[in-house]
């Protein structure tokens, strides 16, 4: 392998991982909505895991997207891009596996994020309906209590 290409790849990957790490720290400090909901807001463990998973997958995918940006740079010769891609894929495979995923899962990160969004949206809709129903039950009970009190006064 051309050592210059390898050095080019490694330098860029280090920069990508550094950027993503910086993003992670910023998200924690600034309160990314998904992280915030996972860490503090929703007490339901099922829902918490959805937010955590969505954040994690987006963060993992960001590494790939940044690398893709690198490949999209037309100034880099095709042969170099191919070498860089090969090195990156090897590294990305191990990186994804280190996070407890199968390497093939990386094919579906986007689909999984989309699916999680569907679950989160549906859950939000159900939660809103439940809140409305709860409000309705409380209102009915209060109204009846009030009615009973009024009739008692008669």
């Amino acid at each position: 392998m051309n050592s210059q290409r390898e050095i080019f790849a490694l330098v860029n990957f280090i920069e990508i991982t550094r950027e993503c790490r910086r993003q992670l720290v910023e998200d924690v400090l600034r309160g990314n909505p998904d992280l915030f909901r996972f860490l503090f807001e929703d007490k339901n463990k099922n829902v918490q895991s959805l937010y955590k998973q969505r954040y994690e997958l987006k963060w993992l995918e960001a590494h790939w997207l940044k690398c893709k940006e690198l490949f999209d740079n037309t100034d880099i010769p095709i042969a170099t891009r191919r070498e860089v891609l090969k090195i990156f894929l090897k590294w990305y495979q191990k990186f994804v596996e280190a996070w407890g995923y199968e390497s093939a899962d990386a094919f579906f990160f986007n689909a999984e994020i989309e699916s999680l969004e569907l679950l989160i949206d549906t859950n939000q809709r159900w939660t809103a309906m439940l809140n409305q129903l709860e409000m309705s039950f409380v209102r009915e009970t209060k109204l009846l209590d009030k009615q009973i009190e009024e009739v008692k006064k008669l």
Binding site: M1, N44, N46, V47, S49, L50, R82, K86, E102, S103, A104, D105, F107, F108, N110, A111, E112, E114, S115, L116, L118, L119, T122, N123, R125, W126, T127, M129, L130, L133, E134, S136, F137, E140, T141, L144, D145, Q147, I148, V151, K152, L154
Partner: protein
């Protein structure tokens, strides 16, 4: 006057004739020589052409053999590449399908857990509302004499509230079931699209690898 003129002058024809004969003989000899030479040249040319033709045939045969050998080697290589391609493709497709299967099962489980959680919350809410209505009925029985108009009116109000709770319950359960069915259907669609995209990506990736192989760039696959 030179000798020849003098001979011609004193009856040169006698001398001249033999010279003419010699000339003709020389000419004839020369012609025969030329003919022989031409014949020899033609023969040599024919021989050379024959030799050339033989050489050409020999070269052509060698070339055909070389091409045939290369074709065989190439065919062997193609078969080998295709076998390797099919194996890798099958391996990748299997791991992708396994991964996708796991993802789909996990997402369905999560969707099911969410639905169960919401139903559990709703049952609790409904139970609280029903208990509250029962408490109100007890209050009505305690506060108003049975058969009185107040007893009747308040009793009807509580019963209406209980009916309302049951209707809400049915409505909510119906919505939850419909949403769940739609969600599962959408999850299936996302999975199918993801699988199609992955297969397309694999075909493209392996297609490129195959092309590289045929171009003799075998290094790419080995790496």
């Amino acid at each position: 006057m030179n000798l020849m003129t003098l001979i011609k002058y004193v009856g040169g024809s006698i001398i001249e004739m033999p010279l003419q004969i010699v000339d003709r003989q020389l000419e004839f000899y020369q012609q025969r020589k030329n003919a022989e030479h031409a014949q020899q040249l033609r023969m040599e040319e024919a021989s050379f052409m024959q030799q050339l033709d033989m050489e050409r045939q020999k070269f052509s045969a060698e070339l055909n053999e070389m091409i045939a050998n290369n074709e065989i080697e190439r065919s062997g290589k193609v078969v080998e590449i295709f076998m390797e391609y099919q194996k890798t493709m099958a391996k990748c497709t299997t791991s992708i399908q396994e991964s996708l299967g796991k993802m789909t099962i996990e997402l369905r489980r999560q969707a099911h857990d969410l639905m169960e959680e919401k139903k559990r919350l709703y049952y609790q809410m409904q139970k609280d509302a029903t208990n509250s209505a029962m408490e109100q009925l007890k209050t009505i029985r305690r506060e108003f004499p049975e058969g009185s108009m107040e007893y009747q009116i308040m009793g009807d109000a509580v019963r209406a509230q209980i009916i309302g709770i049951v209707e809400n319950s049915n409505r909510f359960m119906k919505v939850i079931d419909e949403d769940f069915a739609r969600m599962v259907s959408n999850l299936d669609t996302i999975s199918r699209n993801a699988e199609a995209n992955a297969n397309q990506y694999l075909s493209m990736a392996f297609g490129n690898l195959l092309q590289s192989k045929f171009r003799g760039d075998t290094k790419l696959l080995r790496d």
